[in-house]
Amino acid sequence: MINTKDILETINMIKQENLDIRTITMGISLFDCISDDQKRLEAKIYDKITKCAEKLVPTAEDLEHTYGIPIINKRVSVTPISLVGSNIGIDGYVRLAGVLEKAANEVGINFIGGFGALVQKGMTKGAHNLIEAIPEALATTTKVCSSVNVASTKAGINMDAVKRMGEIIKDTAILTKDKDSIGCAKLVVFANIPEDNPFMAGAMHGMGESDTVINVGVSGPGVVASAIKREGTCDFSRLADTIKKTAFKITRVGQLIAQEASKRLDTPYGIIDLSLAPTPAVGDSVAHILENMGLEKCGTHGTTAALAMLNDAVKKGGVMASGHVGGLSGAFIPVSEDAGMISAAECGALTIEKLEAMTAVCSVGLDMIAVPGDTPASTISGVIADEIAIGVINNKTTAVRLIPVIGKGVGEGVEFGGLLGYAPIMPLNKYSSEEFIARGGRIPAPIHSLRN
């Protein structure tokens, strides 16, 4: 029989330390839905999603009961819609977002991702129209998530797209100002976007993927934080080892759920995303892991080193536990979704400059950060350009999800509710980036020899 201590450890992780499976995401290719007739395109997309994902939610719920582990989100990611919609007009893309929303409601999922475009080098007419449709699409839907890849290490940075995305974020904020600009929480700008990411708002089903696929994102910051606390004042070698062992255990549960979901849904298993994804709940914070390592407050000097070690150890432990690893894999640092980050931002320990440094050593980027509503679009583009440059030069994924909260300024906060949490409005640099952003064109791809 299984060791009593091990059984009680697992129960404790679930009951006390918020261990859960953050998401089961089904990737669905929409390439076979392409049509030159808008109505036919809409019908085919709706039919394909509702048919493929019909059993996703009941299967995930059944797995929750069988294995006794909560599965928080059930999601669908689809082929970037600009590749499917091609030359349909801006209104046509807004209607497609409505179709995705309707399909998501029909199958009962929490979110659907893939209302996006890949424009790292240039922009097709379709990609242009989709991007122009984003503000209205996000304002008229609740479950549709949008992502735009504006750069890659191989292609460089499309600064025309960076400029336009600053304006699109601002427009989305204005169109959803009645709900504290929440539309921007469903919009991410990427560099080096992964094609198999199960997490929102950046999930999409890449071009090299099979017709359907199951990707699973694990979580468990609370489990890691508790393990570090139990170790007390040990040195970093032992600390890294503890994190690795804990990440292994967390990821093994994800692997089990992914394999079982894949079998029951008769859908190939894609990847496990080895992630520490926080929630605003007490005891589910990545910032608190860093603070348990000995930092008085997340954001102080030493935070980047602590996060770098955490991120690396999570990957090392998780890789051993899983057959295939992908997605964003690493620690997430969304400000509004993490009780420790919120507190650190409120007391001034954590600033946007420090967050930017932290994103150089962990997964994703400047995530769920509320900024003043009167921030110029060019400043938002400047923030995007900086963050995207970190990803391009360091050959990693980075992203920006900023929320300019219309009508609010520094010193105020915004309550998004649920997993999106609470965000204190953070100050940005007051000096202008206008002329720099207005240049447009492309920043060339970086050289990867002569590394310094």
Partner: protein, 89 residues
Amino acid sequence: MKAVITVIGKDNVGIISSISGECAKKGVNIVDITQSVLQDYFAMIMLVEIDNMKVKLTDFQSALSLIGEEKGLDIRVMHEDIFNAMHRI
């Protein structure tokens, strides 16, 4: 298929009797039991065979949860593979 029933909480009279009674009623075969009592804290782990169970797993879980609520215990029924996956390479 084997499942693990865990019962955690304050020790009181008749815990094993009520759980095993429920197992018998639902056609669940008990394979192994271990229990430990540390001060007032009670932890019982039961390995059970559920292939011939007469009800759905969720119904069995609800029936045990009801007993848990009455006696102030946390009772869970989980597939054994979650423990195997996590603790065995």
